[in-house]
Amino acid sequence: MKGGGFRGDLGFPRGLQFVAIGIVAGLFSALFGVGGGIVAVPLLVFVAGLDLRSATATSLAAIGVIALAGTVSYAAHGRVDIGAAALVGLPGMAGALVGTALQQRISVRVLSLGFAALLAGVGIKLLV
């Protein structure tokens, strides 16, 4: 855990890199209602020099704290629908177990391209 010698290191102490990554991820998370892994994972890879698998896992741990903070802040403004959250969140928890186990075992290339197409389709629908 020294400051230098890692791939992608921009010359800042690593602790500061992680602080900056956290602030950006937290802002993203609250603004979009997502975990923030979308920005945290690439930043952990390209700025902090973690490998993809470690970055993915580490961002999940950080998102636990970030999502909790976002929930509390939005709930204070009366914006959180607890019943709706349970309706998607509890089946989601079961699905996460399956997905994480699958990630260790299979090549997800074809699946990734299908998922990308689905996201792009819904995103364009929301944009126009």
Binding site: I21, G22, I23, A25, G26, L27, F28, S29, A30, L31, G33, G35, G36, A48, L52, S54, A55, A57, T58, S59, A61, A62, I63, G64, V65, I66, A67, L68, A69, T71, S73, R79, V80, D81, V88, G89, L90, G92, M93, A94, G95, A96, V98, G99, T100, L102, Q104, S107, V108, R109, S112, L113, A116, L118, L119, A120, V122, K125, L126, L127
Partner: protein, 130 residues
């Protein structure tokens, strides 16, 4: 009733995708809550943060068992993230629901590109899978 089942199914699918691609599931939950249950974009995003929490905790625990989590980095990123969250909430509360929805649509397209890029990059260097 059919809508509720579909939204629950989207939750299940979102969890699988979260584990597979290292995203929190929110990118699937927000449109499911907004388009499926008719929540406003702001309420869907706020609710999504609670919805992803169990998914994220289970995912992080699984990744911990595989030995993939760098805990020091994770804790620093998470705690710094709390400051970012306060800024994000303030911005989201200021924006119109329409602006928020369009921003989210743009994010979905960007995430689609990122997922596709990761898949193609993995295929090139052959370090994961086949």
């Amino acid at each position: 009733m059919a809508t509720l089942a579909l939204v629950a199914l989207a939750g299940l699918a979102g969890g699988v995708l979260a584990g597979l691609f290292g995203v929190g599931g929110g990118i699937v939950y927000v449109p499911a809550l907004a388009l499926g249950l008719g929540l406003s974009q702001l309420d869907a995003e706020a609710t999504s943060l609670l919805a992803i929490l169990p998914t994220v905790l289970v995912g992080a625990a699984s990744q911990h068992r595989y030995g993939n989590v760098r805990w020091r980095a994770g804790v620093i990123v998470g705690l710094a993230g709390v400051a970012g969250v306060q800024a994000g909430v303030l911005i989201a509360l200021q924006l119109s629901d329409d602006a928020l929805r369009r921003l989210f649509g743009a994010l979905m397209v960007a995430v689609a590109l990122q997922v596709a890029w990761r898949a193609l990059r993995t295929a090139h260097n052959g370090s994961v899978g086949r």
